[in-house]
Amino acid sequence: MSTLVEEILKAAPPASDQKMTAKDFQSDQDVRWCPGCGDYSILAQTQRVMPDVGIPRHQMVFISGIGCSSRFPYYMNTYGFHGIHGRATAIASGLKMARPDLSVWVVTGDGDGLSIGGNHMIHILRRNLDINILLFNNQIYGLTKGQYSPTSEKGKITKSTPYGSLDYPFNPAALALGSSATFVARTLDRDPKHMQYTIKRAAEHKGTSFVEIYQNCNVFNDGAFFQFTEKDTKDDSVVFLEHGKPLVFGKEKDKGIRLNGFSPEVVSLKDGKWSVNDLLVHNEKDTTLSFILADMTYKPGIPRPVGIFLAIDRPVYEEEMARQIAFAKEKRGEGDMVKLLNSGDTWVVQ
């Protein structure tokens, strides 16, 4: 890093030993989401997890695009950048390359991150910069007051689709995996524990972490995920992915998922036909399996997979960039402008 930036960093007092609390991560700005919005929970969980991440506030940056979700950085008492629609991942990439020392977080929505920002999203994932992406999926455009989004279910009636939408929705996990992501997860606004765990894991992951968070927009798409979050339905509708564990679900943990050929199917563990040993066992490190699990997402009759689909290691972009720079310096010496200007064919006029 440049001399000037290094000076700043050196001059910074050593991080205090005192552990921070969630409160330390609350900014002085009024939170302006609608009362009841699922964003509140995500904010709370993030603030709760941050102290455990163990990075001081001033070394954290939250970057967002445009949307309700993208207001997030204002509420974090860290550095923040509220960008333009769809470009948070690109802004974050530049920052991370320039400053690998920072902990960089992107907050985006299903419109911001997958509609207008879809291209930057797939590219950051293949590049694998060490950035954590929280994608608030409410299956709607909140800020612009309720048009359908790329994750809205087909046939959705919204302001812009009074006859029902025609587009088949993205399966964000599959898209991320198809983009060669190294960390792909899904969690729920109404499951604080799971969300905290997932955010923590994302923070720990070296490389781009893609976390889809099902988020209720109670104004324009109320209840979109209630089946997966509300008491009476969630146990039968969600299967939590846990590394090394078989895919069991149901209130009584009496159901499981096995592969029939390549097709996942739900089996009962009660009728004696199948046992836990027949079930699919999750392995976060298996790219092929991760596709199989992600592909379960919209399959009728199959519970919604939630958890960490994949968490693998691959070289991190900005580190390799730094390595090239170190290599070049070693090989050619620290760049010298005077030498460069006078290099090659020159001549003197008297």
Binding site: M1, S2, T3, L4, V5, I8, L9, A11, A12, P13, S27, Q29, R57, H58, Q59, M60, V61, I63, I66, P73, Y74, N77, Y79, G80, F81, H82, G83, I84, R87, A90, I91, S93, G94, L95, K96, M97, A98, R99, L102, N119, H120, H123, M321, I325, K329, K331, R332, E334, G335, M337, V338, L340, L341, N342, G344, D345, T346, W347, V348, V349
Partner: protein, 612 residues
Amino acid sequence: MPEKTVQNLDEVTIRFAGDSGDGMQLTGTQFTNTTAILGNDLSTLPDYPAEIRAPAGTLFGVSGFQIHFGSTEINTPGDQCDVLVAMNAAALKVNLGSLIDGGTIIANTEGFNDKNLKLAGYTSNPLTDGSLDKYRLYAVDITKLTALALQDMNLSSKLVDRSKNFFALGMMYWMYNRPMEPTIEWIKNKFANKPEIKEANLRVLKAGWNYGETTEIFSVRYEVGPAKLPPGRYRNITGNQALAWGLMAAAKKAKLDLFLGSYPITPASDVLHELSLYKNFSVKTFQAEDEIAGITSALGASFGGALGVTTTSGPGVALKTEAIGLAVMVELPLVICNIQRGGPSTGLPTKTEQADLLQALYGRNGEAPVPVIAAATPADCFDAAFEASRIALKYMTPVFCLSDGYLGNGSEPWLIPDFNELPDISPKFRTEKEGFFPYLRDDKTLSRPWAIPGTPGLEHRIGGLEKQHITGNVNYEPQNHDFMVRLRAEKVERIANDIPLAQVEGDASGDVLVVGWGGTYGAIKSAVTRHRQRGNSVSHLHLRWLNPMPKNVGEILYKFKHVVVPELNLGQLIKVLRAKFLVPAVGLNKVQGLPFKAIEIENKIDEILKGK
């Protein structure tokens, strides 16, 4: 061997032309570098097709490289050429129009076989049908002579054919009395790992020289003495290289890392290529997925304390405008380089034009003022880039740095600046917590503090929504918005206090003032000089800063009876001048993908002088 006559010349213009696969750009560049080292002043114009390697022999596949050099001051690549090296019939057809009457043609006879003649649309062979009688024609079987030189090497015919440009180069070296050593060195380096090709090229180069020396075809050699340039160490440099180095110099003098976020596009890609070489200068180059990611990544890097830069051409700027607006709002330094090309739309991607000025000035939603500077000559790209960076850092603003295809690819001798004499432009990062507000402004520059992530206690948030004065909080109040819009405009206006007053070349008042900007500098200068030599009352005002303009521009304009504004567009600067100063300026407009010829401007001035 007969003694050859040696003739002294003040200046010469040579054009190398052939198929895009014939290596004409390489030949021209080698001739240029050698000529530069000899101390000539010079100016070049590469001119190549949009196709990578169009089918051999076709008119649209012709690639040309023109160099104008002399012992006098050289400001343009030459209105017409004195010598045309035509590797085939198509090259002759396309370029004959630019040869002066009585000029010299060196033609590769093999390039005029039936197939080539047909492809070029000739019904008879111009080398033999007498149609070139008014020129001095040398028909040389370059292809065959090259083959002969390599006879015993057992090379593929493709490789043999690829060497023939060195034959032409060797001949021209002989004819203009230039040393072969620099090119020999270059060949040795370049093909160090390909000994066969190295050997072949060296042989053919020398064969070309020897051909001039030993045959009786050429009766004269020419001598072009060194130019009387200001003393110092020189190098030859293209605009794109100078631009890259100017950015690097600025980053060093700012004690910052340079971060380039860019997406390839002709004719800007070479800046990306150049900068990506200098990793040992801590230059970080990022080839993004598109132009939007190019600029937004650069802005992200700026947020982190780098000198963020993005380079592109017009269609790329179109995609970046939303992000430029964001940069205006968040007030971070950012340098946006536009190497302009022929438009609109994809237009003429490999040709030059200066039709993106209004885009730079006004091409954004809302009131989003951005400083705009334009380079005047290839070497001046260094200074323009440095200056753009200085302003960006000092005023916390995006800055447009305009160049064009002609400047970017063209080259000239450059008096190497003393790097140590360049000013320190390092910013003061804010570290003091006490009294910190992200939008509290410097009294003089009106710029806001730059507080980078990693600084304890200065956590803050920026973004594209309107900001409250001082606190930087999101704010929708009517009065605040009005205030901030005017404040941002004022900040840019104040840069006028920080740039030199405009200088008239020639008398400070008179009949005609020719006002120009950007790459037309050389052509205007030549035209005005000729008029002054003819005793006419004509002066030249070159505007380096287009926004804000130097404070004395109005004053200067009012002192002339006529103001004429030559531009390679349909009239863009002229709109600004007329609106700002209400002067009845007239335009001279050319939109041909080519630079002005000095004569075109000279004639226009004549018209005006006559009409007065």
